[in-house]
């Protein structure tokens, strides 16, 4: 199968959906990104394609009417995307870093997420908000958060956190076709990661978890960038300690594929959740509470949560490396969940 980066997989998903459906538009700061209109149009110069180059080239193919640079007015343009979605377009709006949600959350959760319910089902908001998450980039306290827990908390929103290029492509296409507002979280440290991506029309339905590695002794739920670390840790403990780990990637946090997650724990009797969001009132506590309330009797050991700490993301590299769960700490969490002692 061909290899694509996470970045290119997303770019392709956007491109395919824009070709298929003329009501799909892309908007955000610098998503086209050329100095003057003349600069881009006709002349064929490279567009910036967003600060990470994810939307590069779209403006050349689809033109400025469908690839809209915006001022730094997140409430304004994300709210506009909502208004546009309610009246006939299918916008894909980019919130450059999820950390900026605080300047536009009202539009997202009081308008986008609620219109349908408050209007008694007589509206739909087929909107996707793509946004960048995650630590590891030395981007410091206001550009490194994850916070999908906050959006998952909100009724009316759907939340997707892909972990591989193939999932990103398939899930984004599903998100664009979905009639509800979907927040699509892209980890900045994944953009350059390559992976096999099918060349076909695969759409990965929202709300379906994926078992990234089968196992029967402990369920390791991992989200986003943590999935690859979880797989590495699982392999390590399998080799060193002979522990058979099942790595489950929920992919969609809302709606959550509860049955796949519960089924795995009912099989393995042990649970580790590894997550990069802050710990309080988070998806990690959500998943542990799901298992504790629905499958307590299956648990042989206390579930383990390995998350980012209750702290702002520090800039200093050694501190940031401590902030993010590491392969080694995941491996140790698995051992603890198995009741093994950890040598430090």
């Amino acid at each position: 199968m061909r290899q694509l980066t996470f970045r290119d997989a997303i770019n392709e998903a956007l491109r395919l959906e824009m070709r298929r459906d003329p009501t799909v538009i892309v908007m955000g700061e610098d998503v086209a990104g050329g100095a003057s209109l003349a600069h881009i149009e006709g002349k064929g110069e490279e567009s910036w394609g967003g600060v990470m180059g994810v939307t590069k080239g779209l403006v050349q193919e689809f033109g400025r009417a469908r690839v809209l640079d915006t001022p730094i007015s997140e409430s304004g343009y994300i709210g506009a995307a909502i208004g546009a979605a309610a009246t006939g377009l299918r916008p894909v709006a980019e919130l450059m870093f999820v950390d900026f949600f605080g300047v536009c959350m009202d539009q997202i959760y009081n308008q986008g997420a609620k219109l349908r319910y408050m209007f008694g089902g007589k509206a739909k908001v087929p909107l996707v908000i793509r946004t960048m998450i995650g630590a590891g980039y030395r981007a410091a306290g206001q550009h490194s958060g994850s916070h999908y827990s906050v959006f998952t908390h909100m009724p009316g929103l759907k939340t997707v956190v892909p972990s591989t290029p193939a999932d990103a492509r398939g899930l984004l296409r599903a998100a664009i076709r979905d009639d509800d507002p979907v927040i699509f979280f892209e980890h900045k440290m994944l953009y350059d990661v390559e992976g096999p991506v099918p060349d076909d029309d695969v759409i990965i339905p929202l709300g379906k978890a994926d078992i990234k590695k089968a196992g029967d002794q402990v369920t390791l739920i991992a989200i986003g960038r943590m999935v690859s670390l979880a797989l590495a840790a699982a392999q390590a403990v399998e080799q060193k300690d002979g522990i058979r780990v099942e790595v489950v990637d929920p992919r969609t946090l809302s709606p959550l594929d509860e049955s796949t997650l519960l089924e795995s724990v009912r099989k393995t009797h042990r649970l580790v959740v590894v997550d990069e969001d802050n710990p309080r009132c988070s998806i990690a506590t959500d998943l542990v509470a799901l298992v504790a309330t629905q499958a307590l009797e299956y648990l042989d050991e206390a579930p383990q949560i390995l998350s980012a700490p209750h702290s702002v993301v520090p800039f200093s590299p050694p501190l940031e490396d401590l902030y993010v769960p590491s392969e080694e700490r995941i491996a140790n969490a698995i051992r603890t969940a198995m009741g093994l002692e950890i040598r430090v």
């Binding site: 709210g79 208004g83 009246t87 009202d106 408050m118 339905p205």
Partner: protein, 322 residues
């Protein structure tokens, strides 16, 4: 400004319907028959009606917490509105929305809004749809004087301007944001003057005079339809009731009350059409009677309607649940 007889009657009827509806709501509320709280539009009828006289179902509006008047003028069914205020399943939103969230997208009414300034971006979005899909409609954003201090309005006006969208911003300056006078909360002499900050025309108009409003709205809406971009209209008026029904109104002086109650948009209209012999008193009386029974019927309809059922709590959050 020449307004034909049909439109004149339409204007009168809509203003009267809003007034009668609102007075009835005030009465029902005072009698403890309506749940929650309501913000009444009475006194500001000329604004919504003068604007909406130019619009059709393909045009969009966004509204505010004080949305009944906009809904009525945009053609939302009054039975459905009244039932919504009672929280009944026959309501415009099946009872789930209430006063602050009445909407009817089929009529181009994108919803009252509980968030001050919340409608601005939505109106820009509707304008974006119209422009992107090459439709001929216009999108009108109603907002209050208080809302003009909200960042969303700044962002919305700038966006509509740089994208040359068919949007008309209508600031209903009723002199107060809750208990706070606009002379305190706004740093500008006329809110209309802020149009200059977005390179769009701005005009101040008497909010009691439906003809004056009809006039300036016509220009702004034509401009929008012709692809020349957005405009800002400030209509200076007054709300007759409190901020919400039951508001003790300690912030208004007796002089305030007296001064403003002499400015009634319906009286202003009547005086003008009678003077110019455009409509007769008799004609208007007939409208009044028809409207009165329409509103009475709406109350009966609402009271006789069932509440939503248990299962309605968890529907309509998503279109698809997986």
């Amino acid at each position: 400004m020449i307004v034909d007889r049909d439109k004149l009657l339409w204007m009168y009827e809509k203003m009267r319907l809003i007034r009668t509806f609102e007075d009835k709501v005030a009465e029902l509320f005072a009698a403890g028959l309506l749940p929650g709280f309501v913000h009444l539009y009475a006194g500001e009828e000329a604004i919504g009606v003068g604007i909406m006289a130019h619009l059709n179902d393909q045009d969009y509006i966004t509204s505010t917490h004080r949305g009944h008047g906009h809904c009525i003028a945009k053609g939302v069914d009054v039975n459905a509105m009244m039932a919504e205020l009672f929280g009944k399943s026959t309501g415009a939103c099946k009872g789930k929305g209430g006063s602050m969230h009445i909407a009817d997208i089929s009529k181009g009414m994108l919803g009252a809004n509980g968030i001050v300034g919340g409608g601005g971006p939505l109106a820009v979005g509707a304008g974006l749809t119209l422009k992107t899909l090459g439709r001929s409609g216009v999108s009108v954003c109603f907002f209050g004087d208080g809302a003009s201090e909200q960042g969303t309005m700044h962002e919305s006006m700038n966006l509509a301007s740089i994208w040359k969208l068919p949007v008309v911003f209508v600031c209903e300056n009723n002199l107060f944001a809750e208990s706070t006078p606009w002379t305190y909360h706004a740093s500008v002499k006329n809110i209309a003057d802020r149009a200059a900050a977005y390179d769009m025309p701005g005009v101040l108009v008497d909010g009691f005079d439906v003809f004056a409003i009809y006039d300036v709205a016509g220009q702004a809406i034509d401009r929008a339809r012709q692809g020349a971009g957005p405009s800002l209209i400030e209509a200076r008026g007054f709300r007759f009731y409190g901020h919400f029904q039951g508001d003790p109104l300690t912030y208004r002086t007796a002089e305030d009350e007296a001064r403003w109650h002499t400015h009634d948009p319906i009286t202003v209209f009547q005086t003008q059409v009678l003077e110019r012999e455009l409509l007769t008193e008799e004609e208007m009386k007939q409208v009044d009677q028809r409207i009165q029974s329409q509103v009475d019927d709406a109350v009966t309809f609402a009271q006789n309607s069932p509440y939503p059922g248990v299962s309605d709590l968890l529907t309509d959050i998503y279109v698809t649940y997986s």
